[in-house]
Symmetry: C2
Subunit: 110 residues, 2 copies
DNA sequence: TGCGGTTATGTCAAATCAGACATAAGATCC
DNA sequence: GGATCTTATGTCTGATTTGACATAACCGCA
């Protein structure tokens, strides 16, 4: 992972372990965060496409507007569970969610 | 969702809301559980393919053998977060995880 | 049979995450 | 300017999730 990507992720509010750890296990750590970011993007796209407000989606989901906002802001306190439940509530198919996770489209230019 | 699928999911230890709820939001609820089951299957496959024991995977993941066992048993106390982190630790690619989520292969005959 | 290695199940304190609320900030209208 | 709609941010308390531990069960194999 290059510095640009690291900076981008840290800017999004993520904290990494020590620099040593950063070179160790963190291929996985980075991939995990990228998955989250991908789903974050997909969620906003899906919600807007469906013409839903955050409040409406929150109601469907049994959650609150603030939590939806945090989801779309990649807030670290939002779990993958919540993201995926939100996507389903927003009308995303399993295929769409799978594609978002698999996609590398949010990768910055190498 | 037919009774067979419901039964299958409930047998795996999942609890549903009331019957009324069951007919309401639960397309999503069911999809969510199916995603979990798909990842569960993918995890076991991936771990075995990589020749890892549950203990080894747990160490890589910074978790415990019992938790890995629960993941593979579709225990309701295991979150999607943990499943996906486990898959990454087991060497699964984002593409593989995405494919597992999108896949309908665990769907029973209609 | 007993013995390693592996996996399954039950429980619990500590950590994390959730929904809710307040409130601020933007946008768009009049 | 204000009014309204939407989204963003901060924080609190309760609920869920987690790693850890104990222990049981399973599976070859000698």
């Amino acid at each position: 992972m290059d510095d640009a990507k690291r900076q981008r992720l840290e800017a999004a509010g993520w904290r990494f372990g020590s620099v040593k750890d950063f070179l160790g296990l963190s291929e996985d750590e980075a991939a995990y965060i990228e998955v989250k970011l991908s789903l974050t993007t997909a969620l906003r796209e899906c919600r807007v496409r469906e013409g839903l407000t955050q409040v409406e989606l929150a109601r469907r989901l049994g959650s609150s507007q603030s939590r939806v906002a945090k989801m779309e802001a990649s807030d670290p306190t939002v779990s993958l569970d919540l993201l995926i439940r939100a996507l389903l509530a927003a009308g995303a198919s399993r295929a769409e969610i799978g594609a978002a996770i698999a996609s590398d489209e949010d990768r910055p230019a190498a």
